[in-house]
């Protein structure tokens, strides 16, 4: 763990340095850790003093954290909301205190969009769509039925809901593509493995696995191997995230396609924070630059992959 010394002592608001209060959702996955690290590193590099708080997946705590930032008088507040709704009150408080707010990674559904300056992050629905479209292309023109099993993220979480709906919309185009089983794997490797084991036992024919993140996909690969099948060949695997482990598996041919969901939005965030602080206008929606990876692309990208 790296903790930067420059932020010690809570010099909230004093000096020339911009003070950014950042409230993270939690530390529920490796993706999230990478996201946190990116923000810390970028803040350091940009000379911004970072106040970091972790909400542990609890909205009430995140609201409290944001309020505490207001009390401390930070210059800018940024946060990845735990859920989409329920931020109006605290955002209003921030606005009253003249502290601009930037959202990262996840959106909020406030009707009053003036409550925050910008939202930087991925489009989960688009990610689902990308995954579905790749699959469509794979089975273009073929006529046999394709059985898909889906490993969902944490029940009720925004990425799980959006990646599911985006995917479903995309594969609607081909009636042969059918999701035969869909269960939550809670974004975890171990659960991905357990659930995949059960899928394998209860479904004779599985052609495709769509996992909402790499970790579940990696767990599922273990299950598939244990069942004597070849991941990537006997069962096509699509995942989202493109963390290093996932990319390695992709390059090794055990995953077929990964939609990137980059956690590295620290630099973008810091730029935006600086602009906001300087009173410049920023875009309301900044979509992180994300791509998709096939096996070949993965082999190329792997050596330079940061996380």
């Amino acid at each position: 763990g790296s903790s930067d010394d420059s932020a010690k002592g809570g010099d909230g608001g004093s000096g020339d340095k911009i003070v950014l209060g950042f409230s993270q959702v939690g530390a529920e996955s490796g993706w999230r850790t990478a996201n946190t690290e990116s923000i810390k590193a970028s803040a350091d590099a940009a000379g911004i003093t970072l106040k970091f708080a972790n909400a542990n997946g609890k909205q009430e705590q995140q609201i409290a954290d944001i309020r505490s930032f207001i009390t401390q008088g930070v210059d800018v507040i940024a946060f990845s909301p735990v859920v989409t709704s329920g931020w109006d009150a605290v955002l209003k408080e921030a606005k009253d205190a003249d502290i601009p707010v930037v959202l990262t990674d996840r959106a909020v559904d406030s009707q009053d969009t003036s409550l925050y300056k910008s939202f930087i992050g991925s489009d989960f629905k688009l990610e689902g769509k990308k995954a579905g479209e790749w699959l469509l292309k794979q089975y273009e023109g073929k006529n046999e039925p394709v059985n898909i099993v889906e490993l969902q993220g944490t029940t009720g979480s925004a990425p799980a809901l959006d990646r599911q709906s985006g995917f479903q919309e995309a594969i609607k185009a081909n009636p042969n593509l059918k999701i035969v089983k869909s269960q939550t794997g809670d974004f975890k490797r171990a659960d991905g493995k357990t659930v995949m084991e059960a899928f394998l036992q209860s479904e004779k024919d599985i052609d495709v696995l769509y996992a909402h993140n790499d970790d579940m996909g990696l767990g599922a690969i273990e299950a598939i191997k244990a069942a004597g099948k070849k991941p990537g060949t006997d069962i096509k695997i699509i995942t989202v995230d493109a963390v290093k482990d996932g990319m390695t598996a992709l390059a090794a041919g055990e995953i077929n396609f990964i939609v990137e969901c980059s956690p590295l939005l620290g630099d973008q965030l810091m730029q935006t924070v600086k602009k906001v602080k300087a009173g410049e206008s920023v875009e309301q929606r900044i979509v992180t630059e994300e791509t998709t990876f096939t096996q070949e692309q993965a082999k190329e990208a792997l050596p330079t992959r940061k996380y």
Binding site: T194, Q201, E222
Partner: protein
């Protein structure tokens, strides 16, 4: 003993029903593949190994009237330590080194258990809060060890722990069985069980009977820590990586549930290891059954709730008396009259 047996009838029935469901939904409930057993049943047995281990430790703790919330964190730490060390091995497939590392990881877990036990028995902190401290801080420690990342290992011997087979049975299952048998032997073949139950039944009276309640309490937490550590190793060997964030997350709840299903009261005293094992297997089977029945995600919890409600009501003699009492009342009286 017969009371425990009676109490276990209904949970066993529920387990059998769920297994029955799996026989139908599964296309291979139990087959032989590559020279070893394979299928849903084996998945269940293998998958329940970590929970069984944790629950058995928990049973001992609960028998003394305590509780251990830190098991999940201990799992995370032991997995993290093991993977960290294995990662640095020159040859990850060296059996001796892996065994040594496993030993180290378990030793760490035992020390953590010792910490819990000391807080409870020597400092005198209420168990729930004493172990809460490690529950919170322990996961932080695990993350320090792994630097918040998932550490991958490619060690054959290590993953054997979870997915290997021995005598055509999964190694993880065999480890769990060994642990259970060892615990049963230790508690029932020695006087340990009696002393445990006595401490749980009344610490004051036990002390006055010359039992070193303190030492026994500490020991029980140490054992629970060790079992949790072992469970953590199996968990991490299963996914060939240390996931310090989600390893053992909320497993304490499942473990306590397993203990209670198994007929051990949370206030301490009489305990049943076999009952706990049954409880743990039920919980794992429930997980698989949810998938097998293709219960939609949003209804998962409701389904679980129904099963737990059924379980806890079936466990209650009062409930059975009130519901089935109509038929049973008469014979019961006649029996004693005779």
């Amino acid at each position: 003993m017969s009371i425990v047996k009676k109490r276990l009838f209904w949970p066993s029935l529920i387990l059998v029903v769920m297994l029955g469901i799996n026989v139908f939904t599964s296309n291979q409930f139990l087959t032989i593949q590559d020279g070893h057993l394979f299928g849903t049943l084996i998945d269940i047995l293998r998958g329940s190994a970590p929970l069984v281990l944790v629950s058995v430790g928990m049973t001992l703790v609960i028998a003394t009237g305590g509780i251990d919330l830190s098991v999940g964190a201990v799992m995370a730490i032991s997995g993290a330590v093991a993977c960290l060390l294995i990662q640095d091995l020159g040859n990850q497939n060296s059996v001796a080194s892996v065994l040594l590392i496993i030993g180290i990881a378990i030793a760490v877990a035992l020390v953590l258990g010792l910490w819990n036990g000391t807080l409870v028995a020597v400092v005198g902190i209420q168990p729930i809060i004493a172990t809460l401290i490690l529950m919170v801080a322990g996961r932080g420690l695990a993350q320090l060890v792994t630097d918040g990342q998932i550490i991958n290992v490619q060690s054959g011997p290590y993953s054997t722990l979870a997915s290997g087979f021995f005598l055509s049975l999964p190694v993880a299952f065999l480890i769990a069985v060994a642990a259970v048998v060892l615990t049963i032997l230790l508690t029932r073949r020695t006087a340990l069980g009696l002393l445990l139950e006595s401490v749980g039944g009344s610490p004051t009276a036990s002390r006055l009977a010359g039992i070193s309640a303190r030492r026994i309490t500490v020991m029980v937490y140490v054992v629970a820590g060790g079992f949790a550590g072992l469970a953590g190793l199996i968990y991490s060997a299963d996914i060939k990586s240390a996931d310090s964030i989600s390893a053992g997350n909320l497993i304490e709840l499942d473990a306590i549930l397993a203990v209670v299903i198994g007929g051990t009261a949370l206030i301490g005293g009489r305990f049943s290891i076999i009952g706990t094992v049954l409880g743990a297997v039920i919980i794992q089977t429930l997980r698989i059954t949810v998938v097998a029945l293709d219960i939609p995600d949003k209804a998962n919890l409701l389904f679980k709730a129904v099963v737990v409600v059924a379980l806890c009501l079936s466990q209650s003699p009062e409930f059975r008396a009130k519901v089935f009492g109509r038929f049973k009342r008469r014979p019961a009286v006649e029996k004693v009259a005779a």
